[in-house]
Amino acid sequence: MTRSLQACWVSFSQFAATFGGFQMFTLRLLPYLPRAILRPRLITEQIYSLGALSLVLIMFGGFFVGTVLALQSYSTLLEFGQVDALGAFASEALVRELGPVVTALLFAGRAGSAVASEVGLMRATNQLAAMELMAVDPLQRVIVPRFIAGVVSVPLLAAIFCTMGVLGAYLVGVHQLGVDAGAFWSHIQDRVDLFDDVGSGLFKSFVFGVSASLMGVYEGYYAAPNAGGVSRAATRTVVITSVWILLFDFVLTGMTMPGV
């Protein structure tokens, strides 16, 4: 009995320590953010490898999510004689929910894990320590550019995801299922609101971008300096980011949903 209580206490305090360590890490990063502008080249390199190279995956994902959404909703809408609303249905679901969430999940899998293992390997091979010895702050040189690049990339990727999704829904809905093209767009105009829908979607993906990239650099920076530690950092990044994004999504949806 006492032993299991003790085990509970140990795992709880471990959790609290990780959580607190993460908060401290976030606070430590903040003063570096303005100074990072002085080295834009470091950021663009990371935007390239985190954002631009994720483009194909995101566009592919967005397009097929859009097509599946159109196919799925068509039969239900047909039952109510509302197939004209297909465009509004698909684009609202994409812009509000699927775009930000799926983009962030794909980004965590594609780029977050890459950041974690890259930084983790730097830790394991003492590159970070070497930088410190040369009076180069690894937070400034390695961590902050990756963090900023992630925060910039995710909302842009989410917008691209949504656009591809709407085009996919258009292609399937109008050209395959025979929904009227004018009705498709006019219902989108009617239903999708610039601030309530597009704005809240972009805000969400900004929050997800912060959490995904923060998680990646944190896990990498504090990875155990060995092969197992690097792989654990990559895995933990994907798992924790996914849980976090889904949790945040619920909270943010509750906050931004009109009429709730």
């Binding site: 390199e45 631009a52 004689g81 917008a159 691209i160 004018g182 105009q189």
Partner: protein
């Protein structure tokens, strides 16, 4: 500048352009034109007492076939009527001047569209012409209301 950094710059530039382009698309997908340009279409006007939930870009149909779009809806503050602007494909420029426009519904709960019934006049509607004969949207609620009032009135007799 080495070729590698140049390639990275180009990649980042394209990525950000594509991202911003998508944002613009998402914000403006709602503002697009009626799909019929000025050169391939002409404009007609029609006035209705009530248009139901007719929307801009709703189809305009002749014998059930779409030949145009609703391009603008406004309300006339003088006579309290809804003024609807229609853009019709130029190939259908031989609509008689006594053409009849009514607001119809696709299915029982579907969206509203405008159905044109050609008249028999020798003269044709010109660009910016006005359709004189119109029929308002049939509001299901009103129909049900009338039906119920009639039903109770019958019982009293």
């Amino acid at each position: 500048m080495s070729t590698e950094t140049r390639a990275i710059d180009i990649g980042v530039g394209l990525f950000i352009l594509l991202g911003l382009g998508s944002v613009v698309f998402l914000t403006s997908q709602t503002l697009g034109s009626s799909g019929l340009s000025d050169s391939t279409s002409y404009t007609l006007h029609a006035r209705f007492d009530h248009i139901g939930d007719l929307k801009v870009r709703a189809p305009v149909a002749l014998a059930g076939v779409t030949i145009g779009r609703v391009s603008q809806i406004s309300v006339d503050p003088m006579d309290y009527q809804a003024s609807v602007e229609l853009r019709i494909d130029k190939t259908f420029d031989q609509l008689p001047i006594d053409t009849f426009a009514s607001i119809a519904t696709t299915g029982i709960l579907g969206g509203k569209y405008i159905e044109l019934g050609p008249g028999g006049d020798e003269e044709f509607l010109q660009d910016q012409g006005e359709i004189e004969f119109t029929q308002s949207a049939i509001l299901l609620e009103n129909l049900i209301g009338k039906f119920m009032v009639n039903g109770t009135a019958d019982k009293d007799d």
